[in-house]
């Protein structure tokens, strides 16, 4: 009976300590490293998008890069597509978005991302995931086979980022790492 009482008290103690530990904030140096890592993933995505969109990229390479780009996203994430030619914004699943991007009906496509920065700092959620929003500006240019610029726009997009501390076994030891995943990419505004 005494043992059961102690066990219950011990469990209660753990239950009281765990939420406090989960709320423990990151020290500034670590926070900066995690912030940079998430920004780096968005920059990686921008390079993947440029490769996938480019008509100079071999088909096999574009497909390989689509696989890598898809891995950056959480399952079920959506990417918004806007156009100056229509008012509505269409949302596609990540894979579908990249496949459409690869097959765009232009002879040459130039996509450039710039001003990649946090619009909302990473905030710790009750489950220990850090969630933030990164804004990017995308300049899109489409050329016809004569090499004439036939469409261009600049789109401001917000990307939700999720960062979570995880652990995995490598070479018989437990390795802690920061897993960065991108969520929905929403179109905020589109201009010429």
């Amino acid at each position: 009976m005494k043992n059961i009482t102690y066990s219950i008290l011990f469990l209660l103690g753990i239950l009281m300590v765990l939420p406090a530990a989960a709320q423990e904030p990151l020290n500034p140096q670590r926070k900066q490293a995690v912030d940079s890592l998430a920004l780096e993933k968005v920059r990686d995505l921008s390079k993947y998008i440029t490769i996938i969109g480019s008509k100079d990229t071999p088909w096999s390479e574009a497909n390989r890069v689509i696989d890598r780009a898809e891995e950056l996203f959480m399952q079920g994430s959506e990417i918004g597509v806007s156009s100056l030619l229509r008012p509505q914004i269409a949302y596609y699943g990540v894979r579908k978005y990249f496949e459409r991007l690869m097959r765009l009906n232009y002879s040459k496509v130039e996509i450039q991302w710039y001003k990649i920065d946090y619009v909302s700092d990473l905030q710790r959620q009750p489950d220990g995931t850090y969630v933030g929003v990164i804004t990017v500006f995308q300049k899109f240019k489409g050329y016809n086979k004569e090499g004439r610029l036939v469409y261009q726009d600049t789109t401001k997009k917000d990307i939700t980022v999720y960062v979570k501390r995880k652990e995995t076994q490598i070479g018989g030891r437990l390795v802690g790492f920061w897993d960065v995943l991108l969520g929905d990419m929403r179109v905020k505004e589109t201009q010429k």
Binding site: A33, E61, R64, R68, I170, F177, V180
Partner: protein, 220 residues
């Protein structure tokens, strides 16, 4: 009359001798006093100089090296000056110099170890130069074909293309923070896509054939 003259001469000789004796004695006594005074003055100067030097050493206002300070302290101690202030100062200065010497020795040892560690790390990094250069070659390849050739060559470093690659994003208190682990093949292709190599090999694990079985990189 002659008898009287002889007596007078004896008295004169006696007076002369007494004069010489007492006169000489008095002169000797004043010389001793003078010498004593001179010795006392010299001693006082020595004591004052000792105090001045000890205070300077205590306050750290002297230009002397640590060895020179210890030498001076030993000299002052050898005087056996019977002065409480000097005795107290000697204890304090000795304590201060001993502490400073120990601290200097500790710092010198730390510096030696730091240099040793840096040299060791430099030697290790030099060992990794071949790997770093190969990886940079992939990132800076001019075409997909060229990059693929570089990837094939780089894969020869690894036991298998699935060897884990860990990327350190930060080091806090000796603990590494990593990015999501990847594999050699995926990492090399990543370099091809991103077209930049902002990493350095931090450590490698090899099998008996010398092939890499685990690679740890750090972000630069």
């Amino acid at each position: 009359m002659r008898k009287y003259l002889i007596k007078l001469a004896r008295i004169m000789v006696f007076i002369l001798l007494a004069g010489i004796t007492f006169g000489g004695l008095s002169s000797c006594q004043s010389n001793k006093k003078l010498a004593k005074k001179q010795a006392e003055a010299a001693y006082n100067i020595k004591v004052q100089q000792a105090k001045k030097d000890l205070i300077a050493m205590l306050n750290g206002t002297t230009d002397w090296t640590m060895d020179e300070q210890f030498k001076r302290l030993d000299t002052i101690k050898s005087y056996n000056i019977d002065d409480q202030q000097v005795k107290d100062l000697i204890v304090k200065v000795e304590d201060k110099l001993t502490t400073e010497k120990a601290e200097a020795e500790r710092k010198a040892e730390e510096e030696r170890l730091r240099k040793e560690e840096a040299a060791k790390k430099q030697a290790e990094l030099a060992k990794f130069n071949v790997i770093n250069e190969r990886f940079a070659g992939i990132a800076h390849a001019g075409s997909y074909d060229e990059a693929d050739k570089e990837i094939s060559l780089a894969l020869n470093f690894f036991a298998t293309p699935d060897v884990p690659v860990l990327i350190i994003i930060d080091q806090v208190d000796g603990v590494n923070d990593y990015d999501r682990p990847t594999t050699a093949f995926r990492f090399l292709n990543y370099l091809k896509d991103i077209k930049s190599y902002n990493f350095a090999v931090e450590s490698v694990k090899r099998n008996t054939e010398g092939k890499i079985t685990e690679l740890e990189l750090i972000k630069k």
